[in-house]
Assembly symmetry: C3
Homo-oligomer: 268 residues x 3
């Protein structure tokens, strides 16, 4: 049994961080809150999403018994331990859900899960919206988070990042993110033009000095940049020709999102 109440804007902001990477995914509901981890169809980007129960105005979760709930089949298959049953996994078309939520006002959204009927009920004022859950068996398996060590961390204001990404999109398809001594930079080269953002340590919230950079696909960076547009700051975890991990908060710090993006090989 899952039933919750949440501010419509907080829910929208949260779902937007997910739809920046995937259209649909398995949402895991536990006593602590909501969790999701999903990889994009091309296996290039991953989103890890977490929203604590105290981001909600009301949050009721009760462990369902095995016989009651179809929605736990996946969980069972994955291990069949009693612990596993403490989560409900539901397949959700986030793009569709966001579309409907986008029409509502600023009010509160009520969520209620019917695991047996495989439905998620959402209610905004007098408007009730019932979405059929996706068969979790048909969804991609939850990815393993690779073990990564990032030698460098940069904390930057989202606006500076977004604006650079928007300008970069006019110039090329790939973007370099790197640090050079006490400077962080983002650079893109087109056939004729070059764009480079350079921020010194004192212009950043945090920087680990170093000398390294990696190349990434701008399409993915741009989508992520939209997904995190309501954050204030983002933390970039960087390495040399290494994946990029971007961490940020949602719901006034009561939610956490990480994007992971595979690097592109630089052609000389």
């Amino acid at each position: 049994m899952f039933e919750a109440k949440i501010d419509a804007n907080v829910l929208r902001e949260s779902i937007e961080t997910i739809t920046a990477v995937v259209d649909e995914g398995k949402l895991r509901i536990t006593e602590e809150g909501l969790k999701l981890r999903a990889v994009d169809p091309a296996n290039v980007a991953m989103v890890s999403f977490e929203l604590q129960r105290d981001a909600f105005d009301d949050y009721r979760f009760e462990r369902e018994s095995k016989s009651e709930s179809k929605s736990e089949s996946e969980v069972e298959a994955a291990g069949d331990t009693p612990e596993a049953l403490e989560a409900i996994e539901v397949g959700i078309d986030f793009v569709k859900l966001l579309g409907i939520l986008g029409i509502g006002g600023r009010e509160e959204v009520n969520l209620r899960l019917d695991g047996r009927a495989q439905k998620l009920f959402t209610r905004m004022g007098s408007l009730a919206y019932t979405i059929s859950l996706l068969d979790t068996a048909s969804l991609r398996k939850e990815p393993k988070v690779p073990e990564l060590e990032f030698p460098v961390q940069v904390i930057i204001e989202i606006e500076e990042f977004r604006r650079t990404v928007r300008a970069a999109e006019r110039i090329g398809d790939h973007i370099v993110l790197g640090v050079d001594g006490e400077e962080f930079y983002m650079a893109v080269e087109g056939e004729m033009d070059k764009l480079r953002l350079t921020l010194r340590k004192e212009q950043l919230i945090h920087l680990t000095p170093g000398t390294l950079h990696s190349l990434y696909s701008l399409d993915y960076i741009a989508a992520m940049s939209k997904g995190m547009s309501r954050a204030d700051n983002i933390t970039l975890n960087l390495g040399k020709d290494y994946p990029l991990q971007i961490d940020f908060e949602v719901a006034d710090g009561k939610g956490k999102v990480s994007y992971l993006l595979a690097p592109r090989i630089e052609s000389e």
Copy 2:
């Protein structure tokens, strides 16, 4: 002879209620004001429009003698009684007229009809726009209003209605409007999702209790919803598998519009 002065916003709002159903139509000008009744090309929807002369800042209408005016030929053909001559009927491309009016500011619009030359002159400030009248003979005949009796009336705020229609468009092609006891509802079902607005009597301005519903095409409902977007409240006249009649006011109550929409047959 017809000459009038009207606030640009009032005129725009009025024409928008017409273009929600038809692109062009026969406007009937009388001493009392303007009237139009027209059916959409697919014969599914009808608009009845009426704007009283006191919605105008200035309104001059003079009966033309038969020999003077070409524009009355249609009226004559329809009966040739002296009464018939007390109206001038003009064919107007409302979409085109609205396009030009949309560019002007908030000022006043002057209208002047030249029946002989088959022109409508409009003037907004220093900008004069002359539109050729359409040949009324080439336009569809004014429809008869069917005799209908509606067992149920619901008066609802336009915003609640519009928002539901917008959400519904994301889900399906048809929408059910109905009452169930003391509740009014709008419901749409897609392949995977369902949306339902439910408003209790006390959430409405008026409701006749009952138990009935009808199914309508969402495309038409959505177009009408735009056409009446500047009204505050709308009155829904409902029956069981019956046409829908929506009544609302324009021009601060000095104009009245009714939309009539045929029901769709529900497939089980």
Copy 3:
């Protein structure tokens, strides 16, 4: 050597006046400021642009010696006089430059020319953008300004002009600009409709009385109308079946722009 600092909005406004007519062109940099004169690909419209050095917050120009600078080759070829060397001519893709400038905020833009490397460096805050200069040899030659005498001058508020152009675009492809006694008019005729703006002398900032008119392509007028949208007033220089010259100021009067547009022949 050219290096300058300028308000981002002033630079954007300036470039927009150029891109209304051409995508790319040869910008001539001198001790006095920037100049450009270019003709559109169809040879129908010309833009003459001039931005004084005091429109800049900082402006440094130093004559380069012949051997140092590739960018002067064109200038040399054109005459090889010492005077010619007092200008640097650079080929710029203005549409691309505007695209990047459009993303920045309201801050200051730093410009620096590297004639040897054929690059223009622009910097907005921490964001550096390097644009490759176009080969001036591949660009069209700077047009000669024809010797024209305009019997009539009309000074009009840009808003009245723009609004008429926008309405006119819905009706036809050509527009007449003329004066009739003490009135200025703009008129367009479609198959069914006519639009006419009439302004009496006292509704204008200036009018030379007369009786003449010319026909112009609306596409060009509309593009120019956008290019001068940030001006307050524009001066229309008119003749009978004659080119139209529109003069206006940019950068708070520290820049001047003229558009020249060939007339269309009126078909009876």
